[in-house]
Amino acid sequence: MSKRFTGSADGRPMDAAQIEANFGDIHPALSETQAMAESSRCLYCYDAPCVTACPTSIDIPKFIHQISTGNITGSAKTILSSNIMGGTCARVCPTEVLCEGSCVKNATGEEPVKIGQLQRHAVDGLMEMNVPHPFFRAASTGKKIAVIGAGPAGLSCAHRSAMAGHDVTVFEAKPKAGGLNEYGLAAYKMVDDFAQREVDFLLEIGGISIEYGKALGGAISLESLKAEFDAVFIGVGLGDVNALGLEGEDKKGVESAINFIEDLRQADKKTDVNVGDNVVVIGGGNTAIDAAVQAKRLGASDVTLVYRRGAEQMTATEWEQDLAQVNGVNIRLWSKPVGIKGNGKVEGMSFERTMVDGGKLVGTGKTYELPADQVLKAIGQVLEAGPLAGLEIDGGKIKVGDDYQTSISGVFAGGDCIKTGEDLTVQSVDDGAKAAEAMTRFLNA
């Protein structure tokens, strides 16, 4: 599959095979030849800006040089020692605003080096090699660590803690590990069950056990964990979504984009996923784009993404916005939802045109309607505060200090549930690893 999607070839509904094919790899892996050619473009900068731009500070010039010398094992290890989810990050990072965006080649007007693709080449290469796990555990410290949530933050923390010699138990509410790697990232970025393959790879380090179906606030509480473990890490992500606050939001067909994507990611067959014919997606972030593009690829005739501000203000990156365009998603800007039509089941939505007035977004009074048999809400995720009772919350996120410690001593947190950089996989991996190091310092103190 490529970045472009042109829809049905003959105007009829797409058949199952076509739909399945629509979810193939959006960025097919580099061939050996492409990887050699691309790696030789890297200037091997010193104190390179790409390294600074990467939240996990992967030594990019080094791993690319290692690809060019044919040292794939070494290259992958360079990546994974900074970012144990280098495989997922290579697939999903918005590289155009991270490493590739800061590549010095941009300054000469050349295309940046395809760092993400090269990273994938190295990590996939290692994972296919059938070699022992590249990292070792330090001598056992006898310390026990509880990790809540098996997303990128939790698993990264677990791996780094296991390496330090601690014994880790991960409590995960869902039946599978990986967090949004498994349930949220776009299907065409994570083909061939990569999320689970990466989890398996990560667990090869040993010393990590995962207990599924165990949720904080349900079967377990912070108190009980504090009593049983030497330190606790919270990596629960953002479990709730914002509501539109409109009448009729409970009508059939109005749902959270996150749930829609989760269904899609978990479906055995893509044709099992319930998708409308006229789909309206509300929001301007990557989740909105992912939902819209995937709805289109599932076979929706018309998908319209409606955002209340302009393209400049969308948090979706330029690459993501372009992706929506070349997949045939209609984008309507400067419009906010004001009403949901339909009788029990959604039939359409009405919008009011907006504009900025005196620095504030205001309605213009002009309205229009769009037919819709499915409305996907993607207007932001928020912390699910319930299970976190007792922890100090600040600006909608768990409050942590420089050492990732929460308001409760011995309880640490990282990932989307805290405020570090952007809510990105790579940031969560970095949080998890850094929190693990802080926990080790805490345990040794």
């Binding site: 050699m36 030789s40 091997y44 900068c45 010193y46 800006p49």
Partner: protein, 425 residues
Amino acid sequence: MADLRCKIGGVESINPFWLASAPPTDKKYNVVRAFEAGWGGVVWKTLGIDPPVVNMSSRYGAHHDSNRGVLGINNIELITDRPLEVNLQEIREVREEWPDRVIIGSMMAPVEENAWKTLAVKIAESGVQGLELNLGCPHGMCERGMGSAIGQVPEMVENVTRWVKEVVDIPVFTKLTPNITDILVPAEAAYHGNADAVSLINTVNSIVSVDLDAMAPTPTVDGKGSHGGYCGSAVKPIALNMVGEIARNPETRDLEMSAIGGVSNWRDAAEFIALGASGVQVCTAAMLFGFRIVEDMIDGLSNWMDEKGYQSIDDFRGMATPNTVNWNDLNMNYDIKAVINKDECIECGRCHIACEDTSHQAITKVAKPGGGNEYTVIDDECVGCNLCLHVCPVQDCITMKRVDDGQSHLTWPEHPLNPMRLAAE
């Protein structure tokens, strides 16, 4: 438009671009295609005494850069593996069909006067405009006492050249091997044997890589490899030096040269000619890209000559020779410093780390307030070595600025710190 006609060792050519004796000149089919493409001449693939040699399967190795660009290739091929008469008949045909192009017959024989003389006469009778004596092949043929086995013994170089000169009245080019310590020795031998010109260089003895699975040199023939002849752009610097040495050596400066070794484009050709060559021969570049590369060689050379105001090849031939001197003749008062153009700098840090780790710690790296680094040359520490300029990926971002007064001249023999300084008076 510049006139590219030239005379090489007494042989007139429509341009200075000939194909060297090698697979591209192995038979009529290739040579006709080469002439169609525009090559001025060919040195036919080396002819020997029948029965023809037999070649192996797996013949070439390559030295790649990381982008699969070929820096050089090596080969373990022998001379032509077709009967002499077949080659001579084809030479006759092409001579007739392409009267304005040059065919030089390359030849090789054991070190016996009669063998060389008989073969030389046979080839000359086919109508070639000159003969080239292959005294350079560094693999296979040398194990039979030919090729570089002759080229490495100055007396044999002289004798073989003289024998051939005695029996033919067409120009004779002696092709030299670079697998010696001093190129002047065989060049002088060829001169004393009355060669009309020398062709150089033949291939450099080499192992181009080792297959780490087979644990054998490449190209690998059934699990084993042999040293072979290295050529292509990687050998150009070696060839340039040898051509330059012959041109500035009083004993050999009258010897004409057909320069060979890594010529890949018009600029390479111009460099060899500037160092004194009369024309060039090309093998690897054609093997890598086909005969069409000559189009830009012709076009590029003539455009450059027009820009420079050179009307003919002779106008610039040898112009760099007087400027090719011994180290002892260089001006030690000349002083240059690196200058980094900050507007062009992309902050890759390569100049800094190169100078910091391996040169003179003359480029500072200072974090800028808004992010990124600023790189600055410390003039007092810079020795003007050029390393930063070479590692910088941006064209003309780093330049060297002259800082001495430009007046005084001081060589090492005159230098006050030289314990063996020549008496000042």
